[in-house]
């Protein structure tokens, strides 16, 4: 059942119950009141008529006349007191009846009392008020006067009012239903919009929002709905970005695998089938070995990269930066010396929560990158200050428009040079990932010909971690 029908039904029912009960009560009260009034005025009339009649009868020269004279006198007197609504009873016998009714029992005790009494009788469609009292004569015959009045009008009045009331009720109900219908439609309009929006979103229109501007409860629901849609949209976008990144990485990976594979297959094919000179055979073998070790490096880097996706393998502990720098410098010393370079390190950082192996790997990657960009005799700087670690070189630098891309997996600014130096384009991607695991960001500043500066910026260090 639709909401507006429910509301309308309830309202009409309540309306009906309320109007009927109050209406009926009021009508009944009015009827009673009117009856009483009529009865009272009848009573007064009766009383005064009876009194006057008593005077008349006492003083009147009734005794000694014939029945006929007496009758006409009484009739005359009655007429004088007006109304064709009185019945005069003398000693239990109807003396004079000017009404169109017949009295059922003229000896009824009720009419013989001084105070008089009243009764309403229904006769056919008519309601008749019968009131009677003793005519206060002193001595002689006892007279009783009975007033008979048709009061059907009162009842008809009530009926008319009832019908009228019902008509008003019906009209009110109709108007109420119409109003409720319009109102619910108006109230529910935003709900329909909400429903449409939900359908659209479920069909993939992620940018769709519910256009509800009402300030009521539905507006609140719509707001919540829109917030949910925002969240879903951002999460879906994020997810698709991640999967796009993965896809690109896989694409790059297969390409990256193809190059060494081509060499290895090609050279071994050459050695097997082609008659080449002795020294060329040596070159071919050397290339095969070289490409195999490139593959090996690639696979171990990839292992690192994949390993980092599982956060379980990360063990965070408080580690002194100075110690870490010294260790890294120690590890890089031989490697750099061979290339005729030097590492200059300085540290004024305290302890930081980190995974030692990962952070070492990050620093070594950055230093190696610096070394690859530098030439013999150059220096590489490793500095730790505040919440940032900086690795700086005076090497060839990165072209400005490529800085944004160097952290992509497999991206190499100078492929030939990078390959020669044993790179596979994964170092910085790895660094970014390690930095993220530590809540840090990688900042890269570079100028062609002047060198590159890579900063690992940690979130503001809490007081207690600074020793």
């Amino acid at each position: 059942m639709k909401l507006w029908v429910k509301l309308a039904l309830t309202t009409v029912l309540v309306l009906l119950a309320a109007t009927l009960s109050t209406g009926a009560a009021m009508l009944y009260q009015t009827l009673l009141y009117n009856q009483e009034k009529t009865m009272e005025s009848g009573h007064q009339q009766l009383a005064s008529t009876a009194y006057a009649l008593a005077r008349e009868l006492e003083n009147g020269p009734l005794t000694g006349y014939s029945e006929a004279t007496k009758n006409s006198y009484v009739n005359y007197t009655m007429k004088k007191f007006g109304a064709s609504k009185y019945i005069l009873i003398e000693d239990g016998e109807v003396l004079c009846n000017m009404t169109p009714f017949d009295l059922a029992d003229s000896r009824d005790e009720r009419w013989q009392q001084q105070e008089g009494s009243a009764v309403i009788q229904k006769s056919g469609e008519q309601y008749i008020l019968i009131e009677g009292q003793k005519v206060p004569t002193s001595g002689g015959s006892s007279y009783a006067l009975v007033l008979v009045q048709d009061i059907s009008a009162l009842y008809q009045d009530m009926k008319r009012q009832m019908v009228f009331g019902l008509w008003i009720l019906a009209d009110a109900a109709a108007i109420a239903m119409l109003l409720i219908f319009l109102m619910t439609r108006r109230i529910l309009k935003p709900l329909r919009e909400l429903q449409k929006a939900a359908m659209d979103i479920s069909e993939g229109m992620l940018t769709r929002r519910a256009r509800v501007r009402t300030k009521d409860e539905i507006g609140v629901v719509a707001d919540a709905f829109n917030r949910m849609a925002d969240k879903i949209e951002s999460q879906v976008t994020e997810l698709s970005q991640v999967s796009e990144q993965r896809r690109q990485m896989l694409g790059s990976l297969t390409h990256e695998l193809k190059t060494p594979m081509t060499s290895i297959i090609g050279y071994s094919d050459t050695l097997l089938h082609v008659n080449v000179r002795k020294e060329q055979q040596q070159r071919a073998l050397w290339h095969i070995k070289e490409e195999c070790s490139r593959l090996e490096r690639l696979s171990s880097k990839l292992m690192n990269l994949m390993g980092l996706y599982e956060n379980d393998s990360v063990s965070m502990e408080e580690i002194s930066m100075e110690e870490l720098f010294a260790h890294v410098a120690q590890m890089e010393k031989y490697h750099l010396e061979q290339m005729g370079m030097r590492l200059d390190y300085r540290c004024s950082m305290g302890k930081i929560r980190m995974d030692r192996d990962l952070m070492e790997s990050l620093l070594i990657n950055l230093i190696d990158n610096g070394a690859k960009a530098s030439k013999a005799g150059d220096e590489i700087f490793l500095e730790g200050q505040g919440n940032r670690i900086t690795v700086r070189d005076k090497g060839c630098g990165i072209p400005e428009d490529e800085i944004g891309r160097v952290t992509e997996a497999f991206y190499m600014v100078d492929k030939a040079r990078s390959r020669k130096a044993g790179g596979c384009g994964l170092g910085l991607a790895l660094c970014v990932m390690i930095a993220r695991l530590h809540g840090a960001e990688l900042e890269i500043h570079s100028k062609v010909g002047e060198g590159t500066k890579v900063c690992v910026v940690f979130p503001e260090i809490r007081e207690e971690s600074i020793s």
């Binding site: 060494p260 081509t262 060499s263 090609g266 089938h273 080449v276």
Partner: protein, 229 residues
């Protein structure tokens, strides 16, 4: 004079591999490591006229698609201006790249990794199709005239049966590269030929005898035959 082949490949290892094999097969490779260098070479050729810039115009270009400087697809225009047919040699093996490459005007599209023999055979096909194949092949004292379909040894004409001639040309145009007996059967006798690989041995024997090539056409164990100069 040897046929010149442009090799545009940015990976030094693969470049060397191709050059090594082209040299062995009797071509003269001309390696370029990036797109810009190749472009410069072609422009220079254009300006200086065909003969001036040292040596013959390259008959064919083997071009990688992903190149630093200017990629293989972009280079196509330069090659077309210089009227050098192009074979793309690339790791990109998606259909779209292939269609793109061939539509742009490449003669062939070879996906890495490739086999040496496949590369040489495809090159030969392209050279033949574009009318750039060698007219003469010289091996020691034997000259094969590909237009006349004749073979002379020390100036004297040697009578060869058609299949023997085909076999000689096949081996000689990819010299120093070993062919298996099956490959030779397929290429010369045709795929439908139902015969034994012995047939190949018999014809090789005939060639060796008629041309004195006992040391030139060598039997490679477990593989097949190879013509070495």
């Amino acid at each position: 004079m040897k046929t010149r082949i442009l090799v545009v490949e940015d990976d030094s290892s693969i470049s060397e591999l191709i050059c090594m094999n082209l040299e062995a097969a009797g071509y003269e490779p001309l390696p370029f490591m990036d797109g810009l260098a190749a472009e410069q070479f072609l422009k220079q050729k254009d300006q200086d006229g065909k003969e001036a810039a040292g040596g013959e115009i390259p008959a064919l270009a083997l071009v990688d698609v992903m190149l630093p400087g200017k990629d293989g697809f972009e280079l196509m225009e330069d090659f077309q201006k210089a009227q050098i047919p192009v074979i793309y040699l690339t790791a990109k093996d998606d259909v779209l790249s292939k269609v793109h490459g061939l539509k742009a005007g490449a003669e062939d599209y070879i996906v890495k990794p490739f086999e040496v023999l496949e590369l040489l055979v495809r090159m030969e096909k392209v050279l033949k199709r574009t009318g750039r194949s060698r007219k003469l092949i010289q091996i020691r004292d034997v000259t094969i005239d590909l237009t006349e379909h004749s073979v002379t040894r020390g100036g004297e004409r040697v009578a060869l049966k058609p299949l023997e001639y085909e076999l000689l040309v096949t081996l000689a145009s990819s010299r120093n590269v070993a062919f298996s007996r099956e490959e030779l059967l397929n290429r010369i006798w045709g795929v439908d030929y139902v015969g034994e690989t012995r047939t190949v041995d018999v014809h090789i024997g005939q060639l060796r005898k008629k041309l004195g090539f006992h040391q030139v056409i060598r039997t490679i164990s477990k593989t097949g035959y190879r013509l070495e100069d």
